[in-house]
Structure formats: C-alpha cells, structure tokens
C-alpha cells in the first residue's frame, strides 16, 4: 500500500481512499504528510476491515468509512490546527470594534474631502452627490476588505499564541468604563453628533462656494469672494482640516458617550486652534476680502481695530471660552453621576 507513492505523497494508484487521503494531504505542510498519510491509511483500512468482517461489501465499506470521516478539508484543518472560520471568537469583538470606528472616522473625512475637491472643480450638484456616493461605496468596501484581510492573517498566524480564550496579546481587554452611558444627559447624543458633522461639512463647502460665486464680479467678470483670497495660502485649508478634526472629535465623543478629562483637553485644543486664528484675522481686518468690502462700502466698518471688528473678535473668544467651560461642567457632572452609581 505504501509502495505506490512518490515522495510528496501524491498517489499513483487511484482508489477512493487514495483520492480521499490526497484531498486531505494536499493542504498540509509536506513535512507532516508522509506520517499522516501512513496513519490515516492504516486507520481507514482498519475501519474497512472491521466493516467487511461485519458482512459489508468491500467497496461499500470503503465508501461508508470515508463518509464517516467527512469533508477532507475539515479533517485537514483538524490535523493542521487551522481554524474553520475566517475570524474566530477571540478576534471577532476587536474586528467589529475597529471596523466600526474606522468607518465612522474615514467615511466622513472622505465625504468632506470629496465635496471640497468636486466643488473646487466646479461640479454640478447632481454630479457632486452621485460621484461622492460612488466613491464612498468604493472606500467603504476597500476599508472592510483590508481590515478583514488583516484580521484573517492575524487569525491564521496568531493561532498558536492563543491563551485560553483570554484574547491575543495586545487585544483590547473589556473595560466596564467604556460602556456607553444610557441617557444620563451628559452629551447631546446623536443630534449633537449630526449637528457637528453637518457643520464640519458646511465649513469647507461654504468656503469653496464663496470663492467661486459671489454677488459681485470684477472687471473681468470673475466673482469677488467674501473671504480674503490670500488666506487660501494657509489659513483656509488649515480651517478645513480643523473642521474635519472637529467632526472626528464629535464622532469620538459620541462613541464614548460622555465627557472625560482627555476629551475636554482635546476639545479645548481644537476650539482654541479654530477660533483663535479666526478671531485674530477678524480683529486685524485680514479675514474679509477688501475688494468685496469696497463694493459694499464697508471698508472702514470692519478695518483693523475698528469697534465692530473688536466686538466680533470678543464674541468669538467668548464662544470659545463658553465651549470649553461647558465641556468642563459636563465632565464634572458626568463624573458625579459615575460616583453616584
């Protein structure tokens, strides 16, 4: 029985058993093959003999034995210690968590970026929405695919480091603090999230839109933008990036479900980084386009250090201060709720 094989274990004879054994062996590492080959054949032969001794036809007995052993791939997986799932229970929770988080972060960023790029190139609204939806689908599918692929690879290669179902080293342990607060009113929840996202989307769209369309046109017929076009060299792209970061922050805040001190710090940094430059630009009179103001006859009204410019800057600083104070109050309230529970 063992004579009719070449070194890698591929059978030269072609009985049902030969086919079955080869179907099992071909997905196993070569080093293991010959031993498993001999043992599996002996086991099958023993079983066949037992059934023949019990009065079965040899051919029928062979069939029955192979049927009992079942799907060769499953048996091979058993021999190789391979999981029969793409992503097993040890990784599943991390997989779902990461996938959700990535989709929540990446898709909004892509949406905003696409709107800005398409709007800059002067696309029609229909084109804009259609193109965005198409690319979003593509990005979503790519994201899901690559994340899944990475997890499948971890599942396959990390299978030997499994430690009694406690998860892989480096996998996130469950922390009760991460449970979402249930309607304690510490964050505005979904509505606040949507408001933040829409705002983050509107900022770039509005900036781009005002650049390309205006109620005033210059001598060449080009639109005169409201915002100082020189700011495109740095400040406006900077503000668009911050709007996106603020949107990401809103998503994170929504996911956490309540204000925490690290979130307060991040929020304060974002607020100062956004409103600080705006207030400065307004105060120094650099925010708006002088050509536009000339047309309106408002040049002196909003000039550097003028009462209205100062007042606007002060109001902006006030909004920033309130945003930060508000988050501190909510955090204190949330930690009191946590202590009371």
């Amino acid at each position: 029985m063992n004579a009719a094989r070449n070194p890698v274990g591929r059978p030269t004879a072609d009985t049902l058993t030969d086919r079955y054994v080869w179907a099992v062996l071909k997905s196993l590492p070569e080093a293991k093959r010959s031993d498993i080959d001999r043992e599996l054949r002996a086991s099958i032969a023993d079983d066949v003999d037992a059934r023949v001794a019990g009065g079965d036809e040899p051919a029928a007995a062979e069939r029955a034995v192979l049927l009992d052993l079942g799907e060769p791939m499953r048996l091979a997986a058993g021999y190789a210690g391979r999981p029969l799932a793409l992503i097993g229970p040890d990784l599943y929770v991390d997989y779902v968590r990461l996938l959700k988080l990535l989709l929540w972060i990446v898709l909004p960023i892509v949406t905003v970026t696409l709107f800005v790029i398409n709007a800059l190139s002067g696309a029609e609204p229909g084109e804009l929405i259609g193109g965005t939806v198409g690319i979003l689908l593509g990005v979503g599918v790519h994201l899901c695919f690559w994340v899944t692929l990475v997890f499948v690879i971890i599942e396959r290669t990390g299978a030997t480091t499994r430690s009694g179902g406690k998860g892989y080293p480096g996998s996130t342990p469950f922390d009760p603090d991460e449970l979402h607060a249930i309607a304690t009113g510490t964050t505005g929840g979904r509505s606040e999230l949507i408001a933040s996202l829409v705002f983050a989307l509107l900022v770039p769209v509005a900036l781009v839109w005002q650049q390309n369309s205006s109620n005033f046109r210059d001598a060449d017929g080009a639109p005169i933008p409201v915002i100082n076009p020189e700011l495109w060299s740095f400040w406006l792209p900077y503000l668009i990036v911050l709007a996106v970061l603020t949107a990401v922050f809103a998503v994170v805040l929504y996911r956490v479900g309540r204000w925490t001190w690290p979130l307060v710090v991040v929020n304060a940094v974002l607020t100062v980084a956004t409103i600080g430059p705006i207030a400065w630009l307004v105060w120094t009179g650099a925010a708006l386009n002088e050509a536009y103001l000339d047309r309106l006859g408002w040049t002196d009204f909003v000039a550097a250090g003028s009462p209205s410019a100062t007042l606007t800057a002060v109001i902006l600083v006030g909004i920033a201060a309130w945003t930060i104070i508000d988050s501190v109050i909510k955090t204190v309230r949330a930690s009191r709720v946590a202590e009371a529970v």
Partner: protein, 94 residues
C-alpha cells in the same frame, strides 16, 4: 481528551482506540480523534512510535509522564465538578 489520556496509559493505535472509547460509552468520530491524538502528541502529552511488526504498520500512542500528571489533575477537576452537580441535584430534589 481525558478519556484518551487515561486509556493510552496502555499503548494503542488510532482505530482500536476509537473502538475502545465507543465500547466504554464515549463514541468519538474518527475525524475528531485522529487530529486530537496528533495534537496531544505535539503538546508532549502523548508519545508515539510506529509498530511495523504486523503486516499493517500502525502508529501506537502512549500517555507521556506529562500527559499522565495532566490526566490526574483533570480527573480531580472532573470528580469535583461531579460532586458539585450531585450536591445541587440533591438539593433540588429534597
């Protein structure tokens, strides 16, 4: 698995072990047992050798000292579990 470790204190080969287990009231599928034997061997709980004395060469497995001490521990756990279940069922019926 515990049954394997206990039974293989006397050397045995795959198919015969399958029959022995079935006779002992523990029916196991071959496609579960054969990979299990190899895994226990790779974990050092079983040792194996090929017996080529008979016309059909067979791989005989035997419980290693490590497998033996693990079997003792597992057996102890099993007995404790059984005692606990017994106590619970007695409380339920009385």
């Amino acid at each position: 698995m515990l049954a394997c470790l206990l039974m293989l204190r006397t050397p045995q080969y795959g198919y015969a072990l399958l029959e022995q287990l079935a006779d002992a009231g523990i029916p196991v599928e071959g496609n579960t047992l054969y990979p299990l034997l190899r895994r226990l061997e790779s974990q050092g709980l079983l040792v194996s050798e090929w017996n080529t004395d008979e016309s059909r060469p067979r791989k005989f497995y035997r419980t290693s000292p490590a497998g033996d001490s693990l079997a003792t521990v597992l057996l102890e756990d099993w007995k404790n579990l059984q005692l606990s279940i017994d106590r619970i069922s007695r409380k339920e019926t009385s």
